[in-house]
């Protein structure tokens, strides 16, 4: 068995070593090529050194990116060569697919709830964690913990927490149900409760990562501003409105942009928690389903490009609006 394992892996090892040697050769030749064209030593050196990364970007990011754009105009099932069908995939998406609009609505609705709630919540938590409390290090660690846990494990954990009979949430709420004399809530099977359940799950993860970034933003606000405000006799509320939030606005802006992108791309939780199909599914899950369950890679690519355009437009909108409310230090407020 040892020999057969060696036989299997040896050719692979050789191939990959050859790739490595090839990259070295390319790096060295790029350096001398640039030097030949009288490029400065440092610059040639720099380009030669980032060559592996550039190759990676081209091969593993840019090529799939371009390829998926091409595939979105074809019918492709992975087994037979793609067939050019023009805009049919997009026509199908907007006019024929009965699941597209419900899924898109569901995804937008989720983002519309998740982004503002997550932002306000994480600002509040960051403000709390910015206070000189005892054991602040422990609190900060606890709040950051969700961000470092694997998303799939978290999704499974939440699935159990929300389980109608054996889950922690319904168990804790049992007295409330008894008091109100109602049936325990069926979190994931009742279409009306689906969105609250997902938003609650979303909050948990969002708090951790965003809070740390906001906290860093808070720490960056110069102490003098608060001292001046104190001298002017400003209340805590005024300090929050006139000092903290404007100074924090670049960080909030960053969190808003990443939050919108992240919410529209929700996948892991939705993939691990089966939801009633009648209420549609999240767009990213639909893309996965079309591609890997149904083998419609062309259509899935078209959906993915649609999602990209939506995210791009929303991000542009937020960027455009930023002049109105984002304040960078050193800028004059008009």
């Amino acid at each position: 068995m040892v020999i057969s394992a060696w036989e299997t892996y040896f050719p692979t090892l050789i191939r990959w070593s050859a790739v490595g040697a090839g990259v070295i050769l390319l790096m060295i030749s790029l350096y001398y090529l640039l030097r030949f064209f009288k490029v400065k030593h440092e610059i040639a050196n720099g380009y030669a050194l980032i060559l592996p990364w550039i190759l990676g970007l081209l091969i593993w990011n840019l090529y799939p990116f371009a390829r998926s754009l091409y595939l979105s105009f074809t019918q492709y099932n992975m087994f037979q060569p793609p067939q050019w069908i023009g805009l049919d995939n997009y026509v199908r998406m907007f006019t024929k697919d009965p699941y597209f609009w419900p899924s898109f609505r569901l995804t937008l609705f989720y983002a519309a709830l998740n982004v503002p709630l997550g932002l306000v919540g994480s600002i509040l938590v960051a403000l709390l964690l910015n206070r000189p409390i005892k054991g602040i290090g422990i609190w900060r660690t606890i709040y950051y913990l969700p961000a470092v846990l694997p998303a799939a494990a978290v999704a499974l954990l939440w699935r159990w927490m929300f389980s109608p009979t054996s889950g922690l949430i319904n168990f804790t709420l049992q007295p409330v149900y008894k008091l109100l004399n109602i049936e325990p809530l069926a979190w994931f099977t009742d279409p009306d409760l689906l969105m609250p359940a997902f938003v609650i799950m979303g909050m948990w993860g969002v708090f951790g990562a965003n809070t740390v970034i906001l906290l860093a933003g808070l720490k960056n606000i110069p102490k003098e501003l608060y001292e001046v405000a104190d001298l002017d006799g400003a209340s805590g509320w005024s300090k929050l409105i006139y000092v903290t939030l404007p100074m924090l606005s670049p960080t909030i802006f960053y969190n808003l942009v990443t939050g919108i992108i992240g919410s529209l791309q929700i996948f892991t939780q939705a993939f691990f928690i089966p939801i009633p199909r009648a209420s549609g599914t999240f767009l990213n899950v639909k893309i996965y389903q079309e591609a890997f369950s149904f083998g419609n890679f062309g259509y899935a690519s078209a959906l993915a490009w649609f999602l990209l355009v939506v995210i791009l437009l929303l991000t542009l909108l937020v960027f455009r609006s930023s002049a109105l409310w984002v304040y960078y230090e050193g800028e004059k407020r008009s």
Partner: protein
């Protein structure tokens, strides 16, 4: 200068290391000079104790991929060892992939690294055959006189799952009919006669109602007559009522026919009802088959090979499923072994397929062949099933498999997600839902 070269070398080595680490699984297609050896993924981990150490190099390796878990793989290995010992020109190497099986099968087929022989359950063969991924073995079968290649010995309705547009792409190795397991003690306690061939839906429903009881008097049922959970497949009841979910010509999905509606109403009335069967929450909490094994369920429709009739301390009988208004059709869970179209050795792969199929027909119940599906053969293949063999053999003539579409997975997701799920949750009645869902289902038909 020397320092600089050293610097480049170190950087490149680091990059290489990262590339190696990131791409540990060989995703690149093998170079043309290199014949596919044993499996890339875990083939080495398979113990092959009886394989002769001498001259394995002369034999062509035929790779077989299955979803078998550890126990099943060990049993299968015995069959493979026998085949490998008998043949001088090929040896079958088993590569089990119990997790995420169909994703892996599709990816390897598309990537050109698929095994030669592949297990597929009935829903997948038309799909992959329509994409040209499977080898058409119709002509091989015509010129083969071995018993496992005689198509007229197979049950026609099971064999059709291995065919696509009149051509054959594999050989079925199992046709496991659904039978009715019943707990004798609970029937005795209720003073009811055991289920038999005279049972119809009405008798069955009546018995299920009688057997659903509150034993400790706390106002909540703790014993139920029957249990459903999306299993047994609702299609079976639609067939029993004389309806269809996909017509034989694959041209329609008449889930709104009066027969289908009647069956769906029957199914909806029983599922999670607490009059006949446990509520969904109870099943989730206590386990579906586990509840029967714990003696809390009187009747359970399970596959013929299930271990429900050999539970310690439980006296379990087996009977055919009750008959509907139009017959006693029972669902047969069916799977086949197919050959990947990309195999480098089609002749040897075919030879291996026939011998493997013959081998599995002596291992799994029920073999999908008329000559082997007798009570006597069943108790020989699986001695633990001896006392149920008669009832299983009785169910065999009325077993049916699904009519399969190339886009069956899509069809399934609509059927389960939009028709069955709302029915199970009692959000709608079959008559309200079926006409609209029929349109969606038929949009997926070829």
């Amino acid at each position: 200068m020397r320092k600089q070269v050293l610097f480049y070398l170190l950087t490149a080595l680091t990059v290489m290391g990262m590339v190696l680490a990131a791409c540990a699984s060989p995703q690149t297609p093998p170079s043309p000079t290199q014949a596919p050896q044993t499996g890339d993924q875990g083939g080495q981990a398979q113990p092959q104790p009886t394989q002769p150490p001498a001259k394995p190099a002369e034999k062509v390796t035929i790779r077989l991929t299955t979803w078998a878990g550890a126990g099943e793989a060990a049993e299968l290995q015995q069959i493979l060892d026998r085949i490998n010992a008998e043949n001088t020109d090929f040896q079958i190497v088993h590569e089990p992939a119990p997790d995420d099986y169909y994703t892996k099968v599709q990816t390897t087929l598309a990537g050109g690294t698929a095994a030669d022989l592949i297990w597929l359950s009935q829903e997948w063969i038309a799909n992959l055959a329509s994409k040209g991924a499977l080898l058409d073995i119709t002509d091989y079968l015509k010129n083969d006189s071995s018993p496992a290649a005689q198509l007229d010995d197979y049950f026609a309705d099971v064999l059709k799952t291995a065919a696509y547009q009149g051509r054959y792409y594999g050989l079925p190795w199992i046709a496991q009919p659904v039978v009715l397991y019943y707990n004798k003690a609970l029937f005795d306690a209720a003073g009811l006669a055991y289920p038999d061939e005279s049972w119809t839906w009405e008798t069955f429903k009546e018995a299920a109602k009688t057997l659903t009881k509150d034993l400790d008097g706390d106002g909540r049922n703790d014993q139920w007559g029957f249990t459903l959970n999306g299993w047994p497949p609702p299609q079976m009841f639609i067939w029993q009522a004389g309806g269809e979910v996909i017509s034989n010509d694959l041209k329609s999905s008449p889930v709104d026919s009066p027969e289908a509606i009647k069956a769906l109403e029957f199914y909806q009335e029983m599922i999670y009802s607490d009059v006949y069967a446990p509520p969904q929450a109870t099943i989730q909490e206590q386990g579906f088959g586990e509840m029967f094994k714990a003696g809390k369920i009187a009747m359970f429709m399970g596959g013929a090979a299930d271990d429900l009739d050999r539970v310690e301390g439980l006296d379990v009988g087996v009977a055919p499923v009750p008959a509907g208004p139009a017959g006693r059709q029972t669902f047969a869970w069916t799977a086949s072994t197919v050959i990947a179209a990309q195999t480098k050795n089609p002749e040897l792969a075919y030879k291996a397929l026939v011998q493997l199929t013959e081998g599995i027909h002596g291992w799994k119940i029920v073999p999908p062949r008329k000559s082997l599906a007798t009570a006597e053969a069943i108790s020989r293949i699986e001695p633990r099933k001896a006392k149920s063999a008669e009832a299983i053999a009785q169910a065999v003539p009325s077993m049916r498999s699904f009519n399969i579409l190339p886009r069956h997975q899509e069809w399934d997701s609509i059927f389960w997600g939009e028709l069955m799920d709302p029915l199970f949750q009692k959000k709608a009645t079959p008559a309200e839902l079926a006409p609209e869902i029929r349109k969606k289902l038929e949009a997926v038909l070829p």
